[in-house]
Symmetry: C2
């Protein structure tokens, strides 16, 4: 299915090379929603050529545009997580935080959100009400309003209960220039806390897996954390490692910036419950989704100041330096393992945990 190994360069886009055009027999597979290699494949082979001049020009978490001297950030996310409620959150909190965080990842203060609901006929209204209340609580925490909404209903069997799209608009403060393309050799790589909590928490809520843990999703709005970081120092890159996890996010950054990134496995914060679940299920926590974490590339001389600010801010108490940016080879992410070896970390190749957000 994937043509990622093809040498046919039909489209070149921000350093991504597009392989073969869409073939007649190809269909959507779960991996197209993974956030990893196959998602990238769909974007470069179908969406970008299809949208032509109307397509996004940069593949950051939010697009930005200048309007009368103000730099706006704009982003969208559809949410199809199953089940709708999981330890530590639900689809409502996820939908608000996901979009607030995408805005925050270009340094934008969130201004307003929209929400679009697709409801399956038969969904209990009190369950929907609970989820809407959860959206409100998350929006209040982030300090953002949900200014516009839309509701569609499909017949029973036409959708799996409830999908929520949120889009968001924010304002990037003057002088802030954060992008996946801005990593520079020597930058410290910081993560804001433990990784993999969200993915494993959602997984634990899927009854058919017969697997339980006390772990809660980390789903949280990171805009106040980012504001504290911006006040403490210069930030080159921010990204929230959602689908595809930390490894995929770092691969995107290395590719966009034309640099290499080296991680030290011993420094990566990991809850024992996540570690145990991953071992049991054969997952690599570096590829498991987070919904309340960020990874940052920060000039080395500012890393300690930024780290201090993070540790004093909401959702940054466990922030830590986990690696560094190297001049090359361009696009390469490596992991110095606990036992002293070096492992190449590629993007997520298939689909590990479908419908995680």
């Amino acid at each position: 299915m994937s043509g990622a190994d093809s040498t046919h360069a039909a489209v070149n886009f921000e350093g991504y090379t597009c392989p073969l055009p869409i073939q007649k027999h190809e269909v959507v597979v779960m991996g197209h929603g993974s956030g990893g290699r196959l998602s990238r494949d769909l974007i470069t082979r179908l969406f970008l050529p299809g949208l032509g001049q109307a397509a996004p020009r940069v593949l950051d978490d939010s697009a930005t545009l200048m309007v009368n001297g103000t730099r706006l950030a704009l982003t969208t996310d559809s949410h199809v997580v199953a089940p709708l409620t999981f330890p530590g959150g639900d689809i409502g909190r996820l939908a608000v935080c996901g979009t607030v965080n995408d805005l925050a990842m270009v340094g934008a203060a969130p201004l307003a959100l929209t929400s679009g609901f697709v409801l399956e006929e038969g969904l209990p209204l009190d369950e929907l009400e609970q989820i809407v209340r959860s959206m409100q609580a998350a929006a209040a925490e982030a300090g953002v309003s949900i200014l516009a909404g839309d509701t569609k209903v499909v017949q029973k069997g036409g959708a799996d209960r409830l999908f929520i799209n949120t889009a968001g608009v924010g304002v990037v403060p003057a002088g802030v220039d954060i992008s996946g393309a801005n990593a520079q050799p020597g930058d410290a790589v910081i993560v804001s806390g433990t990784i993999g909590d969200h993915g494993i928490a959602v997984l634990s809520a899927r009854e058919d897996l017969g697997f339980e843990t006390e772990l809660r999703s980390d789903v949280a709005p990171l805009n106040h954390l980012v504001a504290a970081m911006l006040a403490a120092g210069t930030l080159h890159v921010l990204r929230d490692p959602t689908r595809g996890g930390l490894a995929t996010a770092l691969n995107e950054i290395a590719e966009q910036s034309g640099v290499a990134i080296e991680l030290d496995e011993r420094l990566i914060p990991l809850r024992p419950a996540v570690s145990a679940a991953c071992e049991m299920l054969g997952f690599d926590p570096l590829y498991v989704a987070n919904e309340g974490k960020l990874v940052a590339c920060v000039p080395a001389d500012q890393a300690q100041a930024v780290l201090r600010a993070m540790r004093a801010a909401p959702y940054g108490a466990e922030a830590v330096i986990v690696g560094q940016v190297l001049p090359g080879p361009s696009g390469q992410v490596t992991l110095k393992t606990q036992i002293g070896g070096t492992r190449l970390l590629d993007m997520l190749a298939g689909e590990m945990l479908p419908r995680i957000c």
Copy 2:
């Protein structure tokens, strides 16, 4: 299911009175997606109380907010039309035009769109590609870019092929103040062309109805038409009569503005094919969805100038005055019928044509 006849006024919002809170046994029904009375019921009973302070303050097609002296418009729509392709358009064109038009209905020039895709596993990629190309063509026609996107995939049976959410941000020119709350007694009510074309065209594409027509959907971006109207005179109200049709849109305006609206049935433009299909199927064309039409309330002394500008603009050739705004009774919409009687036009009560957009 509907509590619309209840006298329990739990919430008051822009003149809408909210009846009973959500009861335990209530579930989502198709009518909640109709755009009519039950949709309103869901908004006032569940979304507005649930979102609390985070909720929208005005129920126009777009919300507006001031940012550094610029008035932005913000809107969203999810699209679940079935089938994905119909005479005159497809879900891609619909998704772009729907959001461009919601921006235009507050007088905003569209700045950028986002698009969020929910794909069902197994959807042919060449079909998706065709739809994305159609989005591009519609965006190019409107002169807007699709700056951000997101793709999720659900397993086979988890969604009905493809849903597209679009959100949009636009800029409202200084001095423009268009809202459903601004209709004034004496205003002329103008529609931009024939009504009901979209709904009947989509219906004709549903094979199981065994009914065919040469009719095409009117789906089109109306921003250039609105720009021409703004240049020609003062506009009090604009609304695109989508779900729920012309009658529901006028009911919303009459309610928001605290006025009455009187239509003259003989003046309402209607294609013979739409008229015939509605007669055959027992539909009232006043409640059938449009996707490339607008209704405007314009000061009487400016109506002819606006009308002339509309007839010279894209998608306005058949614009015509169909009625007038009266002082009261507040919220009432009436139709002077062809045979000289007067008929009360309420909002759409149930669901006539599910998944029309």
